[in-house]
């Protein structure tokens, strides 16, 4: 009995004052270590489904920038092998055609990029090719936007501005039905 009373006197509450420190420590630890998962990606608009395949042979060949990717992840651009590192520059040159060359697009509104891959192409390669082509357009839009409005192109621009830019340089990327030479089993 005596023992018990002495215990009561000692302390009835657990000292929880340091709990806040521990909680803060945890909080800071997680603040530093967590990377907030963000869903990012390349947004594309697929063409509506139609039974007949569009015929690009009727177009003037100077307006078509044909990119082929084979099952070995090699690029063939306008009939010549090319490295992916220069694809963006070439595409930009083709669309804008600053030197008014005979073999490049008449004007940006007529330029068509045709992308064709094999069923055995790596998705990684396909996406980086797509990324480069999109980057070419993005860079051209930014240049035009800088010239016209003095600000780089982004989705935050007023809709009218964006429309003007996209009317001047529309992104036309047609994807042909893939070949099937290297499909894995």
């Amino acid at each position: 009995m005596a023992k018990r009373s002495s215990r009561d006197r000692m302390s009835t509450e657990i000292n929880a004052g340091s709990m806040a420190d521990i909680a803060f420590l945890l909080l800071i630890f997680f603040l530093v270590t967590t990377t907030i998962v963000e869903d990012k990606g390349i947004t594309v608009k697929l063409p509506p489904w139609s039974e007949e395949t569009p015929d690009i042979t009727q177009l003037k060949s100077r307006n078509v920038f044909a990119v082929l990717v084979n099952a070995r992840n090699e690029l063939l651009v306008r009939g010549e092998p090319m490295s992916i590192d220069v694809l963006r520059e070439r595409a930009k040159e083709f669309i804008a055609n600053p030197a008014n060359r005979e073999d490049l697009a008449e004007k940006p509104t007529k330029a068509i990029i045709s992308l064709k891959n094999d069923r055995g192409t790596n998705y990684e390669t396909y996406l980086s090719v797509y990324n480069e082509l999109k980057a070419a357009y993005d860079e051209l839009w930014t240049e035009l936007s800088q010239r016209k409005y003095g600000v780089p192109y982004s989705e935050d621009l007023p809709t009218a501005w964006r429309k003007t830019i996209k009317d001047e340089i529309p992104m036309v990327l047609s994807e042909a039905e893939p070949t099937n030479f290297g499909e894995e089993n």
């Binding site: 390349i42 594309v44 998705y123 990684e124």
Partner: protein, 157 residues
């Protein structure tokens, strides 16, 4: 015995712990905001490739996810190593896509249905064959807004 009790009795630290719940709640809210709840367990390995021209997916409630990759080790002896499609929390055939999209669509208010985006979370090492089939099926189901999920390239400026 008396020695002990004397000492303790003198320093009686009655620290107020009333703020403790606040802190715990703060932590709780922090994690509630930060963590992204994944509604489905991944049955396929997905390591998305790198890209630079990225756009954020705006409204999470208007996004449905299609995963393509090789089955994880756990499922390899049943499903093999060929790339497969995962819809929701199970493996699916390509032909099940329209039903999956329709099921998602009915949950979305009608005015927002045009904004539904399909996020394709595809492993970088997968070949285009299955991706192409999925794309074709999406086009047939007139689900044209598609996002190829990708990570930001670390060396990009």
């Amino acid at each position: 015995m008396s020695k002990f009790s004397k000492k303790r009795g003198k320093s009686s630290p009655a620290i107020n712990t009333a703020s403790l719940p606040d802190i715990v709640f703060m932590l709780l809210f922090f994690f509630m905001v930060v963590t992204k709840l994944r509604d489905s367990e991944l049955l396929v390995q997905v390591s998305t490739p790198f890209a630079t021209q990225l756009a954020k997916l705006e409204e999470k409630s208007l996004v449905n996810y299609l995963y393509i990759g090789r089955p994880t080790e756990k499922y390899r002896n049943i499903y093999g190593t060929k790339p497969r499609l995962q819809l929701g929390d199970k493996f699916a055939a390509i032909s099940e896509i329209p039903l999956f999209l329709e099921r998602f669509k009915v949950k979305v208010p009608e005015v927002q249905r045009a904004k539904i985006t399909s996020s394709l979370r595809v492993d970088g090492k997968v070949t285009m064959g299955i991706v192409q089939d999925v794309k074709t099926e999406l086009r047939k189901a007139s689900q044209l807004k598609v996002n190829y999920s990708a990570k930001k390239r670390p060396d990009a400026e």
